[in-house]
Amino acid sequence: MNVSIIDPLQGDFPEVIEEFLQHGVMKCIAFNRRGTLLAAGCSDGSCVVWDFQTRGIAKELRDKDCVSPITSVCWSKYGHYILVSATDKSLTLWDVVSGEKVTRTTLHQTTLHACLHPGSSTPSVCLACPLSSAPIIVNLNTGSTTVLPASVFDSGTGTVLPSCNRFIDGSLPFTPTAACFSKYGDLIYVGNSRGEILIIDYKDIQVRGIVSVPGAAVIKNIVCSRNGQYLLTNSNDRTIRIFENLLPPKDGPRAIDQLCSTIGELQGVEKLKAVGSRCLVFFHEFQDSVTRIQWKAPCFSGDGEWVVGASANKGEHKIYIWDRAGHLVKILEGPKEALTDLVWHPVHPIVVSVSFSGLVYIWAKDYTENWSAFAPDFKELEENEEYIEREDEFDLMPETEKVKESVVNEDEEVDIMMVERDSAFSDSDMSQGELCFLPAIPCPDVPEQEKFIRSASKLADSNHSGSALSEEAGQNGQITNPASSPVEAIDNSIADDTGVTCLKRKRKPSEKGLELQAEKGRKSLTKVKSSGKSSKSKNKSAMGQDRGICVFADDVTDDPTTNS
C-alpha cells in the first residue's frame, strides 16, 4: 500500500476469480475500513469474520437468539463493532474482539440494509432501510426510532408539508426506499420512489434539498463513494447514475445554510430543488442498452475511480466494471448462479461477490510474473527508444569502466525510524486504535498425529549419538524409516501444486488431495521418497561442509530419508 515498489497501478481492476471462501451459506459481506477483515452474514444467523490476508476464519459471531438469515452487515468506523440486520426484524450490534453481543433491537419490519453512523467510533445510532417503508434512524441503546421523510409534497400554497407516516412514499406503498449517510454522517441522502434524492440534515431531520434524478424512476440503491465526492443511484429504469457532490465533506449542513441564504427569493419545494441542484450535480449514467438488465448492488471502488454493478438476472453471475467517465471496461462472469452481494476492496483492485449458493468469490488481477524484478538494474521502457551510442562506447578503456558504480553520498543522514502516514487513509485518527486484525491463535495439533510423526523421525535420529535432553528416547519407534517420507512427501507435493496452479483454488484441493495422498501413503509404506530431492539436499550439506558455510559444520547429519 505505502510500499513504493508494489505495482503503482493501484486503480486497476480485477480480472479473474482468485479464490473462493466457503463456510455455510453466506448472504452479505462487508470489508472493514482497511480491507484486512471481511465480515459475512450467513443464512443461519451467525456472522463470520474472515482474515483476508490468510483467507481463513478469524472469528465467528454466534448467538442462540440470532438464528434467522442475515440481510446486511456493517462495520463501525474503526472496526470494533459490527451491525447485523436479520429477517426476524432485529438489529444486533456485536463487539468483534470479544465476540459478544452488545445490544439487540427489534423493529416493526425486517431491515434490508442497515448501516452505522460513520462519524463515531462507538456508534449507537444507525440508519435502517426497512422492507416497505421509509428509512429510519434507530438509537441502538434506547431502541427509539425516528422516521425519515421520504418525500416532500407541495400543497400548492407554497409551504412545505412535513411528511406524515400515512403517506410514506406516496403512490406505491410497498416500495423500499434507499438511504445512505454522507461521509461523516452529518447528512443523509434518501432516494425515494419518485426518483428524487432528498438531502436530510441528520441533526434536525429536516429536508434541506431535493435533487430530481433524470428518468424519475424508483430509486433502489443509493451509495456514497469512500471519499464522499461521488454518489450513485440505481434506479428501476435499469440505469445507474453518478452524481458529483459539491458540498464539502465536513460541515455539509453549514454549507447548505449558506446556499439557502443565496436563494432567498424562492420558497418551499422550489427552494429545496434549487439548493439540491447546487449540492449534487448529475455526472454520468450507465446502462446496458443491449440486454437492458436491472442492476444490483452497485458500488464504487476504494478510490472512486471505478464503478461496479452486478446483473440482477437470476441464473447469471455477471459483474460490470465502468470507469467514472462512463466507459465499460470489463465484464466479469462467474458461475451460473445469481449474485446476492458485491463489494470492492477499500484499497486493492479486488472485488468480492457472493453467489446465491452461499460461496464468496474473490476476483483479483491476474498476476503475471514481473520478469524485470529478477534483475536489479533492469529498467522497463514504455516503448522502443532510439539509442544512439557514444563515440567511445565500444572502445576498450578498462580504467573508466570502473566509474560505473555511482557516487554514493555516504554522509547523508539516514532515517530508519520515521514512518510516513498512509495517504490512502487520510482521515484515520491515530489516537483511536483501529482494529486492523484479530489476534491469530494457533489451533493446537491433534496429539495422535503428533506422536506418529515424532516417533518416525525419532528413529531416524537414532543414528546419531543420543543427546542428553532427548525426551522421546523412550518411545517405541518400531516404524520403519520410509514412513516419514510419505508424510513429508504429501506436504511437499500439495504445497508445490498450490504454488504453481494459476486458478488458485487453494482451500479445497489441499484438503481433498491430502486425504487421497494419505491413502496412497498408507498403502505403500515401502515407498522411499524419490532420491532426487534427498540426494540434492545431501549434496548441499556436503557442499556446505566443503565451503564451511553450513553453520553447524561440526554437526554432520545425514539426510534422514536416505537410510544409508
Binding site: 508494489i6 478469524a58 506436504d491
Partner: protein, 317 residues
C-alpha cells in the same frame, strides 16, 4: 542532550560503553539465536542441542525449556504479542510454542531441507520461513496451512523478514541474491543484489520499513534503500566469512548497528557515521546472534560451540 539552536545539529552526547553484566550458560551445544520479545519481558534462545530456553529478561533466570525438535534449532521468532515463539530446525519442521506454558502448540511440516530462518509478520497471522531446500514458505499461524511456496533461490535461503506492515518479504541466500517478494501473492517484486559472490548471509528491514540491512560474507554490512536500489552506508571492521551472523538496529539510545563477528566480538557502529564505536569482548567463539532490548539499553549475544553462552551487556547510565 544539548538543545538544538542555530543551523548546526546538536553535538551528540559522548558514547557510553556497554559492559558485560551476566553470562548465561544453560545450553549444551552451540547457541544459534537469541531474541528479546517485543514487549521486552522475555528473552528466548535456541541451540543445536535441539532445545529452546525462555528467560526472564529482568532477572535473567531461565523460565522454561522448550523440548520437541529432533534436530538442532537454527532460528526463532517472537509473535507481536510476545505469546508465541516459532522455531526453525534441522528436522525440517517449524514449531510454534506457547511462551508462557512452554507447550508446543503446532508443528509446521512441508520443507524438504533444514529450515534455517523464520519470522512472524507484524499482524502475527503469518509466518515466513526459509530453508536449505531453496524455497521460502509462508504459513497461516491459525491453521498451520502453507499459504505460499516460493521457489526463491538456487542455494539455501539464509534469512527472511517481513516489513512493518507485512506487505513484503526480503530474503537473502547463499546464491548471492537478495530479493523482495510480495507477501500476498508470492511474486518477486525486486532483486536488490544479483551477484554470485559474495553470499548474502543476513537481510532485515529497518524499523520504518524503508531500508534493508544486508550482511554479506565478505566482512561487510550494507544499508540499502531498496526503492532506489542503492546502498547508503557500509559498515566494516568485523569478520564475517563463514557463518550467517545476525545483526540488528539499536535505537533506544542513539542509532547504532550491532553485529556479531567471527573474531569472537560484538561490534557496534554509529548508524550515520559508520564508525565503529565499541567492540564487546568476552565470548570464546564466533558470536552468531545479537539482539537489542526494545526499550532498555541492553544487548544479548550468543556464541557458537566452543562458547555456548549467552552474554548480556548493559550500557552504563
Amino acid at each position: 542532550m544539548a538543545s538544538g539552536g542555530g543551523n548546526q545539529p546538536p553535538p551528540s552526547p559522548p558514547y557510553r560503553p556497554y559492559r558485560l553484566v551476566r553470562t548465561l550458560t544453560a545450553h549444551t551445544r552451540a547457541v544459534s539465536c537469541v531474541k528479546f520479545s517485543n514487549d521486552g519481558s522475555l528473552l528466548a534462545s535456541s541451540s543445536l542441542d535441539k532445545t529452546l530456553i525462555v528467560w526472564c529478561s529482568q532477572t535473567l533466570n531461565p523460565l522454561s525449556r522448550l523440548i520437541g525438535h529432533s534436530e538442532g534449532v537454527s532460528d526463532l521468532a517472537w509473535s507481536s504479542d510476545s505469546h508465541y515463539i516459532c522455531s526453525a530446525s534441522d528436522d525440517r519442521t517449524l514449531r510454534i510454542w506457547d511462551a508462557r506454558t512452554g507447550d508446543c502448540v503446532k508443528t509446521l511440516r512441508g520443507h524438504s531441507g533444514f529450515v534455517f530462518c523464520v519470522n512472524f509478520n507484524p499482524q502475527s497471522n503469518l509466518i515466513v520461513s526459509g530453508s536449505f531446500d531453496e524455497t521460502i514458505r509462508v504459513w497461516d499461524v491459525k491453521t498451520g496451512r502453507c499459504v505460499h511456496v516460493i521457489q526463491a533461490h538456487s542455494e539455501p535461503v539464509t534469512s527472511v523478514h517481513f516489513n512493518r506492515d507485512g506487505s513484503i518479504i526480503v530474503s537473502g541466500s547463499h546464491d548471492g541474491n537478495c530479493k523482495i517478494w510480495d507477501a500476498d501473492t508470492g511474486t518477486c517484486l525486486k532483486t536488490l543484489i544479483d551477484d554470485k559472490v559474495p553470499a548474502v548471509s543476513f537481510a532485515k528491514f529497518s524499523p520504518n520499513g524503508k531500508f534493508i540491512l544486508v550482511a554479506t560474507l565478505d566482512d561487510t554490512l550494507k544499508l540499502w534503500n531498496y526503492s532506489a536500489g542503492r546502498f547508503l552506508k557500509i559498515y566494516t571492521g568485523h569478520v564475517n566469512r563463514v557463518y550467517c551472523i545476525t545483526s540488528t538496529f539499536s535505537v533506544t539510545n542513539g542509532k547504532y548497528i550491532v553485529s556479531g563477528s567471527e573474531d569472537k566480538c560484538v561490534y557496534l557502529w554509529d548508524l550515520q557515521g559508520k564508525n565503529m564505536v565499541q567492540k564487546l569482548e568476552g565470548h570464546t567463539d564466533t558470536v552468531i546472534s545479537v539482539t537489542c532490548h526494545p526499550t532498555e539499553n541492553k544487548i544479548a549475544s550468543a556464541g557458537l560451540d566452543k562458547d555456548r553462552t549467552i552474554k548480556i551487556w548493559v550500557q552504563d547510565t
